[in-house]
């Protein structure tokens, strides 16, 4: 077992009388891909929203283990989860900045460090060398990621004009541009064809191996889940019903029952 990156302990989320997540505990390891699967309405996206600060969890705790500190994610409210804790996410329905160029999308992701370098805009107004260098650096980082997903030639086009599959990939590398410890992907393969989802697998494996970023993945496409996950957590009605390796999951009676129902 490798080092643990994320510990979710007894997480509970209630919306009025509806129990969306019921006492959920699981952990995700560093440089591993952990998939969260489950039927529709199982509470997968709610888990993400709790982790990334969009919802405030009713009870329970979530800890992120950085090099030498243990951060309680519950203490960070919305944008601070990304800014201070380094948890990045993508969305089920792609949320790019459609009327901004591809490069600008990646530059916005590096906003916080550029903002510091621009000395609250004042140094930036006068083209201070420290800011200009930092900005060049940020462009280089963006270019590095664009080369990886093969979109360098479209860097100056509007993000909204890209084909669907490229938009998905762009959203993932945009999240990577904040230099996260944990990357949460909400159905990255939805709507992709076979070739595109093979490329996606390659990208995710690259991120895991080269960037040592832990990946948390919600996915319905089992070909993606089975091929790249190191660890699978299965949810149903807000409860964890199984966790284990991809192979174990495939053969688990509880999982089969949740997806297909019981035999008469």
């Amino acid at each position: 077992m490798t080092e643990k990156l994320l510990d979710v302990e007894n997480l509970t989320m209630k919306f009025g009388g509806l129990l969306a997540i019921d006492n959920l505990s699981f952990s995700a390891a560093k440089d591993q891909i952990t998939s969260i699967i489950g039927p529709n309405g199982a509470g997968k996206t709610t888990v993400f929203n709790c982790l990334t600060g969009f919802y405030k969890a009713t009870a329970g705790s979530m800890f992120l283990n950085k090099e030498n500190e243990r951060l309680n994610l519950k203490k960070f409210s919305d944008f601070k989860v990304a800014q201070k804790a380094g948890v990045a996410r993508t969305f089920q329905n792609i949320r790019l900045f459609p009327q901004m160029s591809v490069l600008e999308n990646l530059m916005v992701a590096q906003h916080n460090k550029l903002m510091d370098a621009s000395g609250f805009t004042i140094l930036g107004l006068f083209n201070a060398p420290s800011f200009v260098n930092k900005e060049k650096e940020a462009v280089e980082i963006s270019k590095y990621w664009l080369d990886i997903i093969g979109l360098t030639h479209r860097a100056d086009d509007d993000a909204g004009d890209l084909p669907y599959g490229d938009q998905r990939k762009l959203e993932i590398v945009r999240a990577m541009c904040i230099n996260p410890h944990l990357l949460c992907l909400d159905e990255p393969a939805a709507g992709l064809n076979a070739k595109e989802s093979a490329e996606l697998n390659k990208l995710l494996l690259f991120i895991k191996k080269e960037k040592k970023t832990g990946i948390l993945l919600i996915e319905h496409d089992m070909s993606v889940v089975m091929e790249i996950s190191d660890h699978v957590v299965v949810l149903n009605y807000g409860k964890k019903i199984f966790q284990g390796s991809a192979k174990e999951t495939k053969n688990s009676p509880a999982v089969i029952e949740a997806y297909l129902g019981t035999e008469e």
Binding site: T52, G53, F54, D78, F79, K80, V81, A82, Q83, K84, A88, R89, T90, F91, R95, L96, F97, P98, Q99, M100, S101, L103, E104, M107, V108, A109, H111, N112, L114, M115, S118, T121, G124, L125, E135, V139, K143, L146, T152, A155, D156, R174, A175, I178
Partner: protein
């Protein structure tokens, strides 16, 4: 197909006529006049009929020739397209020649006092439009109360100048800071609001400031307004025809004949410089992280949060900086008029500035200029026909919305590019 289309456009235009009848029937048709000290209705059905027919016919024609993309029946509006192309590709050249023209404008042979006054007014609106462009065009926050900051700037300039006797160049930044503070003050309660709701609250804010100015008599003299606001001086040299004993004035210092035009020309260059500063600042700040964050916030606030962009600070800076330029323009207005009252800061001013920004093409700096020249120029042309001014204004807006629904100049240039695209073109 063709027949069907004709049928549906006829139906559509009849329906438009019906709506026009419902609107104009009571408003125009049932006119009340005082006769022997009683109000009687004097119907004007003929005018209503004309209006209804014009509306229905206009709708029919726009249906046929503009909304119809069918090659056979509709004409491709080649003129519209070439104008679009021209504006899109020659944007920089147009901007440069406009700047050169405005610099030499006061010394052109046909320039007289009247034209100078209009030019000064246009430049004030252009500056306000550029300031509001930060809030609406970049940050995407629909602010219908922008005139409030204009008023705050004007009043704070006037009060400081009257009571402390400080010069224009000291009061100007103070007025800007005051307006920026009010921008933050407005920004805080509306942080969570978007779109229509934000528009309603900002509208109310604009009215609140106006009513406050109207009623705080001890400070603002209420409806009487503030008089005797000091005129600006040329770096310490006042514009006066009869200088006091031993006093240097502009014309004695430069050995010129006194002429009232000297002050007008000075005011003209003052607002030109202020407006250009606003423009340069906006162009520059768009390319900085904060400007990019504004645009990102306009596009998708949730995505911004997921990337760790602080939406609160980003919105507040947009409100504050936009308001600051409104405040600068306000203090210029105060020093030019030498008299201000709440009358000058009504909602219609906000509406005109918003119209300038939206019709110009959100976020486009050149678009603001074109829209101002078009709208304010139109209002001026119709100055002699007072009662038709608003019709012309409304008609101009309808025309722009039909032919350029996204504003006169709607193309957006990226703030940073990887390849030098211009070079390959």
């Amino acid at each position: 197909m063709r027949k069907n289309f004709l049928y549906s456009s006829i139906k559509d235009s009849l329906f438009t006529g019906l709506i026009a009848l419902a609107l104009f029937g009571p408003i125009v048709g049932l006119r009340t006049v005082a006769k022997n000290e009683v109000l009687v209705v004097s119907p004007k059905w003929f005018i209503v009929l004309v209006i209804v027919i014009v509306c229905a016919l206009g709708r029919f024609l726009t249906n046929l020739y503009i909304y119809n993309r069918d090659q056979k029946f509709g004409i491709q509006s080649t003129i519209g397209k070439s104008i679009t192309n021209f504006l899109d590709t020659k944007g920089t050249q147009i901007a440069l020649s406009a700047i050169i023209f405005s610099v030499i404008f006061p010394f052109l042979p046909f320039t007289d006092r009247y034209l100078m006054d209009i030019a000064i007014m246009m430049l004030t609106y252009i500056m306000l439009g550029w300031g509001l462009n930060i809030v609406i065009g970049l940050a995407g926050l629909l602010d219908l109360g922008y005139v409030a900051f204009y008023a705050v700037g004007a009043y704070s300039y006037a009060l400081f100048a009257i009571h402390f006797g400080w010069s224009f160049w000291i009061c100007l930044p103070i007025a800007g800071i005051f307006a920026a503070m009010f921008g933050v003050l407005l920004g805080f309660p509306v942080l969570r609001l978007r779109g229509d709701y934000l528009a309603i609250v900002t509208l109310a804010f604009g009215e609140m400031i106006r009513i406050l100015l109207l009623n705080w008599y001890q400070l603002t003299k209420g409806p009487d307004g503030l008089t005797g606001i000091p005129r600006p001086s040329f770096f310490g040299l006042p514009f006066k025809s009869f200088p006091d004993e031993g006093e240097q004035t502009f014309h004695t210092f430069f050995g010129l004949e006194y002429s009232p035009m000297q002050r007008i020309i000075f005011l003209y260059y003052l607002i030109l410089v202020l407006a250009l500063i606003t423009n340069l600042f906006t162009i520059k700040i768009r390319r900085l992280p904060i400007g990019r964050a504004w645009e990102a916030l306009r596009e998708d606030e949730i995505a911004c949060k997921s990337l760790g962009v602080n939406p609160r600070n980003t919105k507040l800076t947009a409100f504050a900086i936009g308001a600051m330029f409104g405040g600068f323009a306000g203090s210029f207005f105060a020093t030019r008029q030498a008299f201000i009252s709440p009358e000058s800061f009504t909602f219609i001013e906000s509406a005109i500035i918003v119209a300038i920004v939206v019709l110009g093409g959100m976020g486009s700096q050149t678009g603001v200029v074109l829209a101002t020249v078009f709208l304010i120029g139109l209002i001026e042309v119709f100055r002699d026909f007072e009662s038709y001014r608003m019709i012309a204004f409304g008609g101009a807006m309808v025309l722009i919305m039909i032919f350029r629904p996204r504003g006169i100049l709607a193309t957006r240039k990226p703030t940073i590019t990887l390849q030098k695209k211009e070079a390959t073109k």
